[in-house]
């Protein structure tokens, strides 16, 4: 099981802040592809160049390997401070 989180504008665009993937194995990039295949409407939002990805609460690249029990997050560029 992999926990997937979405934040801010992306959370609103997708209409959900959290979901679980039962039997996933592959990279972070693969996980994004799998979500877009499952929810075709999400592609336009999730595939944007500026969307950041985190693996276990650290910023990560598409090549990062996702394991069972991991927490993955997608979000737009940050605007704190």
């Amino acid at each position: 099981m992999v926990k997937v989180l979405f934040f801010a504008r992306l959370r609103q665009q997708l209409g959900t802040g959290e979901l679980s993937l039962g039997d996933f194995s592959g990279s972070l990039g693969d996980l994004r592809q799998a979500l877009c295949a499952q929810y075709p409407d999400w592609s336009v939002h999730l595939q944007r160049d500026d969307i950041r990805m985190a693996l276990n609460q650290e910023l990560a690249e598409p090549e990062a390997v996702v394991n069972a029990g991991d927490e993955v997050a997608f979000f737009p560029p940050v605007t704190g401070g």
Binding site: A8, Q57, T79, G80, G81
Partner: protein
């Protein structure tokens, strides 16, 4: 394992006893910031001669619109980790005493303080530089997102997510050269 725990506590006290000044305070809170209290706690026991502060507040105007209010969303867990990493990296670069980062989340109003960053050091150069470095990193990597309430042309309120600025990324680049 009560024996191990007390051993650990004694070690922690010993470490703090030797380096009383090297204390980090990192907090994400929904309550209004108390800048005076944060400064007192930061500088009061540091023993350092220099203290640099940055306080960021909610603006009443942004991107061509009057702003009526602001809400901040964050990624609990990752936010704290991110601020801890930034603080650790600042300590690797400069000799610092105390470091405080307090960031507010949730709904807030114009002029409310959003973020407090304070750094003490024996020398002002390190305090100034570290304070700026922490803010530059926070702006580009700590997972916070601002949502503004703005008045539209008819005077009714609308909401919009604040866009990230390229200039913030440019500010960060100067630290990689050093």
């Amino acid at each position: 394992m009560p024996g191990m725990k007390s051993h650990f506590s004694r070690r922690l006290l010993a470490v703090r006893g030797v380096g009383m000044k090297a204390v980090d305070r990192i907090e994400v809170c929904e309550e209004p910031l108390n800048v005076a209290a944060e400064y007192t706690a930061l500088q009061g026991n540091s023993g350092d001669g220099a203290c640099a502060l940055f306080v960021g507040s909610v603006r009443d105007f942004n991107a061509g619109s009057d702003v009526c209010g602001l809400a901040l969303e964050h990624y609990p867990g990752m936010t704290e980790k991110s601020l801890q990493r930034i603080t650790r990296d600042a300590r690797d670069r400069w000799s610092l005493g105390r470091v405080t980062i307090v960031h507010r989340v949730g709904p807030m109003q114009i002029n409310d303080e959003i973020v407090f960053v304070g750094v003490t050091s024996p020398h002002r150069q390190a305090a100034f530089a570290a304070c700026q470095y922490i803010m530059d990193r926070l702006k580009t990597e700590a997972p916070f997102w601002k949502r503004e309430a703005v008045a539209d042309q008819t005077g009714s309120a609308a909401e919009r997510w604040v866009e990230a600025r390229d200039s913030d990324a440019a500010e960060l680049e100067k630290w990689s050269a050093g």
